[in-house]
Amino acid sequence: MTVVGKTWNRLTLPGKIVFTAIPVVLVLTAGLVATIVLLGGPILDTLAANLPIVRFVVAVTIVLLMTIPTAFLIIYMEMKIIALMNLRIGPDRVGPYGSLLSVVHGLKVLMKEDFTPTGVDSTVFTWAPVVTYLASVMTLLVIPFAPGLFGQELNLGLLYFFAIGGLSVVGLLMAGWSSYNKYSLLGGLRAAAQVVSYEIPLTLSVVGLILLAGTMNLNTIVTQQAGWFTDWYVFRQPLGVLIFFIAATAEAGRTPFDLTEADSEIVAGFATEYSGMRYGFFFFAEYVNVFVISALTVTLFFGGWNAPFPWPWPVDLSVDPGSLGIALLLLAAVVPLILTLAFAAPIWIASNRIKGWQALLGGFVLTNIFIVAVIGAWAYIGLDWVAGLVWFMLKTYVFVFIFVWMRGTLPRVRIDQLMDFAWKWLLPASLLNLFITAAAIVIFKTLRPS
């Protein structure tokens, strides 16, 4: 055996893979570079010609990536807010105020063993979390985050939302059915029954709104609510909001309707047999669902990205940095220095126990905060989408807070009460809402034919 052969045999499997992959990657990279250099122009032209496709791919990637920090943030909120309501402190070890704990949790589930128990239908078992996760991520595509900031503008956006949102139950049912565990089965079937039942009042509760808006395009619905906060649809559809919110809670499987994973009854429901990242995907899906539901509530009823009041001092801050010329360089070089000294001086004067370097450090930090604040304010006033995003996220997280707050307060309902509530109360109420809305529109149009 040759030296090369011996060395090759000593390598572990990952080592063999790496040593094989390195030349392949090198060749591919070289080829890619060569292609771009040689065919750069035509590629750019093709991309420019198919801009909607490029835009869609980029939007999907961003939406997919966005779910991770969103889920982490909501998990952290859930841990911290429920802890504070329980008179506990909650996470406080990892990161400032424990804010990185959910990241650590994410890493933990990544590193755990991805275990497939004996007897499960392994194909279905593996795909179930993917289906659940994708169903919740895909709904994010039509949510308008800010003016011009949305994945895809669909004329039937709302319908798309409900259609895809209903798919998540397929994943849960797959998980419950394939797990070869009776608790999982019960959880999956509960999920199916619950989501299918609540889909109807959920959809019917927004029909009144669709009548008012005359469209299912979410962007249009948001633009219709511009102006003062009294223009929001919540004031024209109060019953609709209530039904929508309750049904959406059930749809997302949140307390008090979290029967699918009721830990005191059926251990962890459909997720009982899952471990590692597959379990993590279910929980990502759940928290993304919370975000999506909150976002949709905001979009439909609470003005979306519109501020609750029109900006009272319309100013034009369209500064072109290029017009400053050499002054921009001076600005960038001198202003931070001056600001640092200006902020450090009062700190240094205020207490003689603070050393010079500490004061400078404090000044530097304050300068950074100040500059970020200035740029933020400029962006808020100058850029529509920044202002829209700020308001949208603010409102959405208020609703996320309400979801968490409900989880901290309420006990769980029973499955028969859940069904009773959906069919005997929510469905008639949503039909009533639809009837009143339609009648009001007819009366209004008869009285004031435009």
Binding site: N86, T118, Y180, K182, V267, L410, P411
Partner: protein
């Protein structure tokens, strides 16, 4: 289905299926050992078994319940006990009279003082010991505190089993304050080992009294405000009302005692019915409710907390001076005889029956525990209810598996 010898385990279709899949479900004993087992473990059309416990988030310890379900509806159930059996009675018989008391502590680990009180009372009867009045008052005071701690824990677990995350932590705050207080008095947090034959281990001290005073000033308000979360909550009340109903006759037939019996309308309380200690001198009511369902049991315990606060208040006002231990020989050798004593605990009647053969160890010591008795009635309560309610019914009876399995 008759119990026949011809059943071999290889004929069992379930076992064959399990072998084929390589999976071993918790299958029942096969062939069945009794008629009842044969009946229970025969599945009807569309029925299935589900095995709750011994590792389940909410079986209050290591209880295993095999449920026969039709969909989510419970058809029949078979509780399996004994996972926490420690042979406490036998251990007590191998220890002398002082040592036996400390074995009874961890029986029901949330209400240890009552577990101590019953054997102490029985041994005192056996030896004709006159307990000093101050010791009796201290016993009443500390045990009523323990009752509140136990009930507070119950209220929290009840909510947790119905899916409420918050009440359990609020009631743990309550309980921790009491338990720390009792630690200041007795020297231990949970397994107090405080009562002695002829008195108590230590006198009231400053640490305990200051903590007690601080707690008493805010106790009522704290308990009320915490309970406001659930008492009026529609979801909670709707789930609890009419759940696990048991009528007076059945409750008496199942020998239920304590709050579970009083929730069916029988004002039976050993502190009044067969008074012991200084309870005849104290003024308190026996709260009763007539519904006999989970909500009644839940609310009744809340009323009992208020009565316990009343008793504590009176104890503090009437606390006499004097010794806390009777004069006793170091080695206790009671005359041959037998004695029975019962106390009213937070779960019902705790009693001890002790036989002495004249040596320094009890010849026989029988411990009667309310949790075990109450657990028998789940077979009457659960069928017909949903799977989600099994845990609520179980929680409303408040069994502690340490006491059930002894």
């Amino acid at each position: 289905m008759p119990v026949s010898e011809s059943h071999q385990s290889t004929d069992d279709p379930r076992v064959t299926l399990d072998r084929a899949l390589g999976v071993f479900e918790p299958v029942p004993p096969y062939p069945p050992r009794t008629e009842r087992e044969a009946e229970f473990y025969t599945l009807g059309d569309g029925q299935m078994f589900i095995n709750m416990g011994p590792q389940h988030p909410s079986t209050h310890g290591v209880l295993r319940v095999v449920l026969k379900l039709d969909g989510e509806k419970v058809v029949d159930l078979d509780p399996v006990l004994g996972y926490l059996h420690r042979g406490v009675e036998k251990l007590c018989e191998n220890a002398d009279y002082h040592q036996a008391i400390c074995y009874t502590d961890p029986l029901e680990y949330v209400s240890s003082l009552f577990n101590e009180w019953a054997p102490v009372l029985a041994f005192e009867k056996l030896m004709d010991v006159q307990v000093p009045r101050r010791a009796e008052y201290i016993r009443v005071l500390s045990s009523e505190l323990n009752r509140i701690a136990s009930h507070a824990l119950f209220l929290g677990w009840m909510a947790l089993d119905l899916g409420g995350l918050t009440p359990v932590l609020w009631s743990f705050i309550e309980r921790d304050e009491i338990v720390d207080m009792l630690a200041a008095l007795t020297g231990q947090r949970m397994l107090f080992n405080y009562f002695r034959i002829g008195g108590v281990n230590g006198d009231l001290n400053h640490d305990f009294m200051s903590r007690l005073g601080e707690w008493m000033s805010k106790a009522t308000e704290q308990i009320d405000s915490g309970n406001a979360l659930l008492n009026e909550n529609e979801i909670f009340v709707r789930r609890m009302r009419g759940l696990g109903t048991i009528d007076t006759a059945t409750a008496l037939r199942m020998v239920m005692t304590g709050p579970n019996l009083r929730a069916t309308g029988v004002p039976f309380d050993i502190r009044r019915a067969h008074p012991y200690s200084v309870f005849p001198e104290l003024e308190f009511d026996i709260p009763t409710r007539t519904e006999g369902d989970c909500l009644a049991r839940y609310l009744l315990r809340m009323d009992e907390i208020r009565q316990s606060l009343r008793i504590i208040d009176q104890c503090l006002h009437n606390m006499p001076d004097g010794p806390i231990m009777a004069k006793l020989p170091r080695l206790l050798r009671p005359r041959p005889g037998r004695a029975y004593a019962a106390v009213e605990g937070p779960r019902g009647q705790y009693s001890t029956y002790a036989i002495s053969d004249g040596t320094d160890q009890p010849f026989r010591m029988r411990i009667h525990d309310p949790s075990f008795i109450h657990l028998q009635s789940v077979g009457l309560m659960m069928p017909g209810h949903l799977l989600a309610d099994t845990m609520a019914i179980m929680a409303s009876l408040d069994p502690i598996m340490g006491g059930v399995d002894k």
